[in-house]
Symmetry: C2
Subunit: 159 residues, 2 copies
Amino acid sequence: MDKEAIVIKMAVSNWQAYVQRTQKLFTELGDEKLLNAIAPGKNRGIYLLGHLTAYHDALVEILGLGTRNYPELYEVFLQNPDRADLPMPGLAQVKEVWYKVHERLDAGFATMQPADWFARHNAMTDEDFDKDPTRNKLNVLLNRTGHLANHYGQLLLLK
Amino acid sequence: MDKEAIVIKMAVSNWQAYVQRTQKLFTELGDEKLLNAIAPGKNRGIYLLGHLTAYHDALVEILGLGTRNYPELYEVFLQNPDRADLPMPGLAQVKEVWYKVHERLDAGFATMQPADWFARHNAMTDEDFDKDPTRNKLNVLLNRTGHLANHYGQLLLLK
């Protein structure tokens, strides 16, 4: 395996490990606990799951893997805080979309060649990328893995 | 910049971003809030800071950068949970050690060549590494960045 392939495998494995930990956690917790706040006055479990689901749905676009499928989740889970008095999908629906979004990402990752991961991500210009070649798709995945780990740590408090 | 150098820069930048976010957070929070629990019955801020500090002190060994400097932190912050009725260093001391540990790591990273990051980490055998070349030092850094992001998300709840 050459170094590019090794690095891509590492980054994808790290991402998938946090996706799987999160799934394991929300399965173990059960619905009642996911409707609780992670701490008094803070986000509820359902909000964090929806937030991650919507954010990861948008990841297909930044990685050039297609168009996001669930734009209706953005207002409630990305553009507004929890308890913003907006209609929110139920937990069963959020979980169903979670699985669909992550299956689609796994399928998309499998089609990507090493050079694709080192190409600029779709939220920046060629000019900026010439100045800073670290702003590639692989870096987006590292960034999203950090974001996921951050919220996974918070969801753990529902245990 | 070749791809190896790009990837190492990405991974180190991601790590440093979370280190800096954590420092900014504990500076902003002030000492009083850091003595609070992140949620009722959960770890206190001081425990999480000590936990990260001790874990990152040990990182020098797994990366082959030297010997850990603060083994006295391990029992209280790694081998035992918060409120285990063990004597705990004060917040001023934990913060001081935090800065020393991360300055030492930054200095160590600066001495590492690309090939060093792709070499096996010091907690595994050559034989296992031959079977799985992703178990290198760079992967340890990705892993520790995820662990840090996880606890950073928890510390944010003290705001």
